[in-house]
Symmetry: C2
Subunit: 166 residues, 2 copies
């Protein structure tokens, strides 16, 4: 799947030749130039559906900040499992289009510059739209409260309803 | 000064006409398209030297996260005063070129993608290079420890030595 996407990207870049600004902005070649953080490691299948890339930026191994930070790249359609953070979480969207949904509520569309404050222990998911990559910086606050709790995958049906505004 | 810069920007954009990709990347018009967060309010003259723009992203008024977050745009030559954070601070560089210096140490150059962990109570400053704008997302951790302490301006001499690697 990734291999096919990569080939499509090369084909698209060759077709448009990156000759025009608008065209360049539509290809992945421009995206890679504007990415802030490197992609990191592939996300765990026990926390994510689809292909994600997680780069730990602040591990706080010495517990100086009580805070962890990470960059997450979600390929189109990719998303976290339902989960919650005992100390809360903050998301800073840096590119692409995605969604954030709290359990039982309508999903919120997200674009570059959006900030999401996720209160402690609130069950939610976040991830990409169906057709576009989505990138956010995530900050886990008050880590002394413990690690995230995971509540299973966001099913294809749940995801479909969320991105259709149901 | 800002008025003059704005006029120069318009003149430059008119000259190059944004006709080519490379040229567009060199003008401010492209920068505004790629900026992640809006500029916010002008930074206080009691905390910054030069022109800065501060946008609060997470105020944590309900103290849910013990964390504050803010985007800071430093125009060329602009910088914080010497200061320290009782709970520590983390910087995520999103564009431009800047510097971070701990009191008594050589300054560290910063570019997009760099992350700076600043331990609690360590006196330091951060800011732009002489010729380029610098933008970072800042996170103040463990806010229950209290607000930042300010220790006066980074003088022109201190700044000059820092950016020259002394």
């Amino acid at each position: 799947m990734r291999y096919l996407s990569f080939l499509s990207l090369i084909a698209l870049a060759a077709l448009v030749g990156c000759g025009g600004k608008e065209q360049c902005l539509m290809t992945g070649s421009n995206e890679s130039k504007t990415a802030i953080f490197q992609k990191g490691e592939k996300g765990s299948g026990e926390m994510f559906t689809g292909t994600t890339w997680v780069r730990m930026l602040v591990t706080d191994k010495d517990k100086a900040y009580d805070t962890q930070a990470y960059n997450v790249v979600f390929e189109p359609g990719a998303r976290t499992f339902w989960h919650s953070h005992p100390g809360g979480q903050i998301l800073f969207v840096t590119s692409g289009k995605g969604f954030y949904q709290e359990k039982g509520k309508t999903a919120r569309p997200l674009v570059k510059g959006d900030v999401v404050e996720i209160p402690p222990n609130l069950v939610h998911w976040h991830g990409a739209s169906k057709d576009q990559e989505f990138v956010h910086l995530g900050v886990s606050a008050r880590n002394d409260k413990g690690p995230a709790n995971w509540h299973g995958a966001v099913t294809a049906e749940e995801y479909g309803e969320a991105i259709n505004g149901k």
